[in-house]
């Protein structure tokens, strides 16, 4: 049975011209802001709390609760930061929202500002999202012109400014404290916590960092009320969710559904598996969530049920893989992603990713040894729970879960000395060649050029 879509956040996606203020207003736009202006800030937070909305950025932390932690009355400004760095493999829900319905995010940011007594918000947008950037810039311009933003928000006497910041494209800068460092103009690396951003965030001031989807949902909560939101989903996972379905299905894409829909129905919603392919395993919430075998496809899509199955709902990125796909290849790809995106700050993630990638590359290309499986487990054991931020844990999830469910496949790769799924590519991680490595920083710059040349030579035409 296929689930049905429940279009709440995505309701306006197909409305022509809704990226313009007028059309947006005709379709209920800025009604949430009007409601917010009638409420006390603390009451807005109460509504969000009562709705049970959980953060859509990955960790699922209740949004209202997070806002209630933001220190008020410290004499320092409060900042609202929207995390629009969407970088988790498999995740593509924030970008469509910002491209198609940019005012929804702008409105949400203003409401968040009102709720938190903030006069300044930032949208930290992934640098590669050129179209989203144009759309948001236009929406912000229109909102300023219409008096929704500025020195006196809709004549309320309250000031709120919104700045769009285009990031430089590092996955780690989606981690909220690295994001703040990056926003301050530093190198994006996670910060030590405590102090938490709610107390000591951007420029040392109380700050909240929330995902695009979390923020865009808030005006709807104010208009429709907390109970309205709870008509969908479960007590612990109420509401609807934008789900990114990718992989070997007929119609991969974005679907908004009620929380609690079983995964098998989500697959049907996406048109089912491609012809002749059978579901083998899936990552329920993005590449950093432990993979689950096909036998768990009946799990309802809620935070608690997926956790019960041993994985995480994450960002709502359901990645589906069939029996034609080598689990080793998938894990290697994921691991290389984390290796590449590791910020380098802490030993476990920096060295563990470097090591595990090489081991996986060997296994996939047929030069693995049986000890490698123990080695992988050992590496993961030294990384999981010991890394500085969650990226290190993410690195271990695919490896550990695949070894748990598909150890035999690894053994087969090693025993046969070749991938049973066809010829696997050699590892092509550019090694630092002593001749190419620079003696000074100036020469280091030419090294980066060298590396990007190497990448484009390898057929990646996207590099500049």
């Amino acid at each position: 049975m296929a689930a049905t879509e429940v279009k709440v956040l995505s309701a306006r996606y197909d409305v022509p011209g809704v990226d313009d203020l007028e059309v947006y207003e005709q379709h209920g736009g800025y009604a949430g802001l009007r409601r917010a202006l009638e409420m006390q800030p603390a009451y807005i937070i109460e509504v969000v709390k009562a709705s049970g909305l959980r953060g859509r950025g990955g960790a699922g932390f209740p949004t209202g609760l997070k806002w209630s932690f933001v220190a008020q009355g410290t004499g320092k400004p409060v900042y609202v930061v929207c995390n629009a760095d969407e970088g988790e493999p498999g995740t593509f829900k924030d970008r469509p929202l910002m491209e198609r319905d940019p005012h929804a995010l702008v409105e949400g940011m203003i409401v968040a500002g009102l709720a938190l007594n903030s006069e300044q918000g930032y949208i930290y947008l992934r640098g590669e999202f050129a179209h989203a950037s144009r759309q948001l810039a236009k929406a912000i311009r229109q909102a300023y012109a219409a008096g929704y933003l500025g020195e006196d928000v809709m004549g309320s006497g309250k000031r709120y400014h919104l700045t769009l910041h285009r990031a430089a494209g590092a996955y780690i800068c989606g981690e909220e404290t690295a994001l703040l460092d990056s926003l301050e103009g530093r190198r994006g690396q996670p910060r030590l916590r405590p102090p938490f951003p709610a107390v000591h965030g951007l420029y040392g001031c109380p700050t909240t960092v929330n995902n695009v989807e979390s923020i865009a949902m808030v005006p709807l909560l104010l208009v429709n009320g907390a109970e309205w939101f709870q008509q969908w989903g479960t007590e612990k996972s109420p509401g609807t969710k934008l789900i990114c379905i990718s992989g070997e299905v007929r119609n991969p894409g974005n679907y908004e559904v009620a929380m609690g829909t079983p995964i098998s129905e989500l697959i049907e919603l996406a048109g089912g598996m491609l012809d002749g392919r059978e579901l083998k395993f899936f990552c329920p919430g993005g590449s950093s969530t432990p993979m689950l075998p096909a036998s768990m496809a009946d799990t309802p899509y809620t935070f608690e049920d997926i956790a019960g199955a041993g994985s995480l709902l994450g960002t709502g990125a359901l990645m589906l893989f069939s029996d034609r796909t080598s689990v080793v290849s998938v894990v290697r790809r994921f691991t290389e992603f984390y290796e590449h995106e590791s910020c380098g700050k802490c030993t476990p993630c920096r060295e563990g990713g470097y090591w595990a990638s090489q081991v996986l590359a060997r296994i996939e290309t047929g030069t693995g040894v049986m000890d490698d499986l123990d080695t992988l487990e050992r590496i993961c054991g030294s990384v999981a729970g010991r890394s500085f931020c969650a990226l290190g844990d993410a690195l271990t999830s695919p490896i550990m879960s695949s070894l748990q469910y598909f150890r035999d496949e690894y053994v087969e790769h090693i025993r046969k000395g070749v991938s049973p799924f066809g010829v696997a590519p050699q590892r092509d991680v550019p090694m630092l060649d002593p001749a190419a490595v620079a003696a000074t920083a100036r020469e280091r710059a030419s090294l980066s050029a060298l590396l990007s040349a190497a990448t484009s030579a390898a057929g990646d035409g996207s590099g500049a």
Binding site: R187, Y354, T440
Partner: protein, 821 residues
């Protein structure tokens, strides 16, 4: 004044009680677990943790288990909590496994360099691997490779593949020294330490990064591949580079210094030192080093024996005494140990019979020494204002002092005060100097006009006065360039606001020289020659002072001595570590004096190296020992006396300065002291004057009025790394020196058509010139320029008139047409 509550003195409610490996311990609130463990004697392995740096939690080596926490805890980032139960690697399998796991990962990309790495034998990574590592690596794959080494600076090399990316060096650079020295670049396994591309690396403190690097990634050019930590003899010492008094460790092998390290002294230098102190030791074995006594025969200096040399000096002294009393002079240069200065003071007064003594090569204002004598007596022989006082002061007034150039480690304390509690630093004077990044307010004055500004600071309703009168004890630091009357004014300011005051000289022997009474009109311990009671106390130890010293008005310091010598009133000039031809504030006056004495009398130079003065003027040259080669003590700017011990042997014929003085006295028929202990006993017995003399009254306005016509008045500031003899041979260190420039105010630059960076010819007294690039300084008062003291050829002292005043005109250097086109 003393530091507020030492850590041990926390009151009961500020204590947190926890259990570590079954042992109960109470520690101050906020203590990190790793520190608490140290208190029970357990050293949790660590790489990135450093007690003086903010925690970073990068290496993940310091794993411990905390009851109730499912995940391992990094003990360097988590503070203790009441009733916490901590299990370290000693009692927890989880902690042990965690540490082993991290270690294995750290070794993935670590090269097998131990056999040729400088750190081998003192390397935490090596020690850890030996103690807890596996015998065999499971790592079968490719290690990261880098070119080795990379020069981070002319003095510091980096082997990136050895680096464990602990960020100690970069945190030091950011948090402690605050220079754009090094940063981490790139990410993942390619993360690496590097220098900024668009900012020139620069640090006077770079050596500290080498010392705190937990592996052999950072090495110094001077120690690389030279020795092993287990092959060297280690001797604790005290640096003689400036008045900071930094603890130092000297390491030698077969009698030669291999390297010097900062020795932790939390009261003084904490765990830091500056590059000058660390890397300047090559002067000990430099070709210019004096190794034998010499005398001038037929215009040439030729080797001689100590007895012949001393006899020649004694003859000259006797001949002079036959002409009349007080015709000899003794000048030291700020290098002497406290004991040397004490003997020199006695030698001069009782044997040579002269008050022509001085320990400063600068022309200090007349009231400086008496005012310092007052502070010395007030402090009762103990440190007065201390580093800790400065660190905790809410407001710090700085006048006539550029700490980073003159007393670098004091600069680090000022930075710490600024960084940790935003101490408000108020700079009084013509420019901000290197305090520009951390100063809170600036009170601009013309050069020399600081006293009036200091006197006014505490009064009125301005924000500075309000800050000074707020909670806490302010600190007032008066330096060498503050005009006449500054120290008295600064002292009165401190009194008015309940704060402390200190005079901060540059040279290491300066405070000891003052305490010994090595200045005209002074006696040891803050006593005055003109005071009968003071004289009596000193005579009780020294025997009677010559009658002609009684009642004579003291001469005006070195200027007075040189003027007397130039006028033919000095027959014998004894110079102990004073290269007057280069270092005297007025080279013109010094040359006239030296030429006159060399011609008609005797110039005696007692020094480490064949200085310009020795080469050109000395009749007798006596080789002496350096700090590392002898026992002694020095008093830092706080007034803290610290002893040092011999670390290496001196050249065979060199003697300690005090020994040379004692032997000269003996040849002249006086028995002074038989040992260092005898000198120390007498210093102790004399102590300081029981009650301080009254502070000198405000002197008439300094003689440094506006120069005539177009001339600009120079603030002559020494740079830390200059052409000094103590830097001879330390080529890599000197390559890190700051460029000499002439600092010009914006207004004067505009008026004279000079642009930043352009070369100008600076013309001073008698038409002497130096050509230097311009630095347009936004903070400099118009009418003044800033010049480096001894960083140019000729030194700026050549541009001074005979009063030591440097008034200059500036002319842009014409750019040849072809180049300009």
């Amino acid at each position: 004044m003393s530091a507020p509550a030492a850590p041990g003195a926390a009151s009961a409610e500020d204590l947190v009680t926890l259990t570590i490996d079954g042992e109960q311990v109470s520690v101050p609130k906020g203590t990190l677990i790793i520190r608490a463990a140290e208190m029970v004697g357990t050293i949790v392995p660590r790489f990135c943790d450093h007690p003086l740096l903010d925690p970073v939690g990068a290496c993940r080596q310091c794993v411990v288990e905390v009851e109730g926490q499912p995940k391992p805890v990094m003990s360097c980032t988590v503070p203790v909590a009441e009733d916490m139960v901590v299990r370290t690697h000693l009692t927890s399998a989880m902690a042990r496994r965690g540490q082993e796991g991290t270690l294995e990962l750290l070794l993935v990309n670590h090269p097998l360099d131990c056999p040729m790495c400088d750190k081998g034998g003192e390397c935490p990574l090596q020690d850890q691997a030996l103690a807890h590592g596996a015998n065999q690596s499971r790592f079968l794959d490719q290690k990261r490779k880098y070119e080795k080494p990379v020069a981070v600076s002319p003095q510091v090399l980096l082997d990136r593949e050895r680096c464990v990316l602990c960020a100690r060096c970069t945190r030091f650079s950011e948090q402690i020294s605050g220079d754009p020295f090094i940063e981490l670049f790139e990410r993942g396994a390619l993360e690496q330490v590097a220098i900024y591309e668009d900012e020139p690396y620069h640090s006077y403190f770079s050596g500290n990064t080498i010392q705190i690097c937990p592996v052999g990634a950072l090495t110094s050019t001077s120690y690389r591949f030279k020795a092993r930590s287990f092959d060297v003899v280690t001797t604790p010492s005290v640096c003689d580079g400036c008045s900071a008094g930094c603890g130092q460790t000297v390491q030698s092998r077969r009698g030669e210094v291999q390297r010097q390290l900062a020795r932790t002294n939390m009261d003084v230098n904490e765990a830091w030192n500056c590059d000058k102190g660390r890397f300047s030791f090559p002067h000990l074995t430099h070709a210019q080093r004096l190794t034998t006594p010499m005398e001038r025969v037929d215009g040439e200096l030729v080797p001689t024996t100590w007895s012949r040399a001393l006899a020649r000096v004694a003859d000259a002294v006797r001949a002079s005494q036959d002409v009349g009393p007080g015709r000899t002079a003794l000048v030291s240069g700020g290098r002497l140990a406290d004991e040397d200065a004490h003997v020199a003071a006695r030698l001069a007064r009782t044997v040579l019979g002269t008050d022509l003594v001085e320990h400063r090569t600068r022309f200090a204002p007349a009231d400086e020494a008496p005012a310092r004598a007052v502070l010395l007596a007030r402090a009762g022989g103990a440190p007065g204002l201390t580093y800790a006082d400065v660190e905790h002061a809410p407001v710090i007034v700085v006048a006539g002092l550029d700490p980073e150039e003159e007393v670098p480690v004091l600069h680090l304390r000022l930075r710490k005060a600024w960084r940790q509690h935003r101490a408000r630093i108020v700079v009084v004077g013509p420019h901000l100097g290197t305090l520009d990044g951390i100063a809170w307010r600036r009170v601009a004055t013309a050069p020399g006009a600081e006293p009036a500004a200091l006197a006014a600071l505490a009064y009125g309703d301005g924000e500075i006065a309000a800050a000074l009168r707020g909670d806490g004890a302010p600190a007032v630091l008066v330096g060498e360039r503050a005009g006449a009357g500054s120290l008295a004014a600064g002292t009165r300011l401190a009194e008015a606001v309940g704060g402390g005051v200190a005079f901060v000289p540059r040279r290491a022997g300066d405070a000891g020289g003052l305490a010994a009474g090595l200045a005209p009109g002074l006696l040891p311990g803050g006593r005055l020659l003109a005071d009968a009671a003071d004289r009596a106390e000193v005579e009780a130890a020294w025997g009677p002072l010559p009658a002609h010293l009684d009642g004579a008005a003291p001469v005006d310091g070195l200027r007075g001595i040189l003027a007397a010598a130039a006028d033919g009133a000095v027959d014998v000039l004894l110079l102990a570590g004073a290269d007057l031809a280069r270092d005297a504030q007025s080279a013109a006056l010094a040359e006239r004096a030296l030429a006159r004495v060399a011609g008609a009398g005797t110039v005696v130079v007692q020094d480490l190296a064949l200085t310009e003065t020795a080469a050109r003027y000395a009749d007798v040259v006596l080789p002496v020992t350096a700090t590392q080669e002898r026992d002694g003590a020095r008093t830092d700017w706080e007034g803290r006396a610290q002893r040092f011990r011999r670390a290496v042997d001196a050249p065979e014929l060199a003697q300690d300065d005090w020994e040379a003085f004692v032997q000269l006295a003996a040849v002249l028929g006086h028995r002074l002291y038989g040992s260092l202990d005898a000198i120390r006993a007498e210093q102790e017995q004399l102590g300081v004057r029981a009650a301080a003399h009254p502070l000198p009254e405000a002197a008439s306005a300094g003689s440094t009025g506006a120069p005539s016509g177009d001339a600009l008045l120079a603030v002559v500031r020494p740079l830390l790394l200059d052409g000094g003899t103590m830097l001879a041979g330390a080529d890599d260190l000197r390559a890190t020196a700051r460029a000499a420039t002439v600092g010009v105010s914006r207004a004067d630059a505009a008026r004279l058509g000079i642009v930043d960076g352009a070369d100008v010819t600076v013309t001073g007294a008698g038409g002497a010139t130096v050509t230097l690039p311009t630095a347009v300084l936004p903070d400099l008062v118009p009418g003044a320029v800033v010049l480096p003291r001894t960083s140019t050829e000729p030194p700026v002292t050549r541009l001074a008139d005979e009063d030591g005043v440097v008034a200059v005109t500036l002319a842009p250097v014409a750019v040849p047409a072809e180049v300009g086109a």
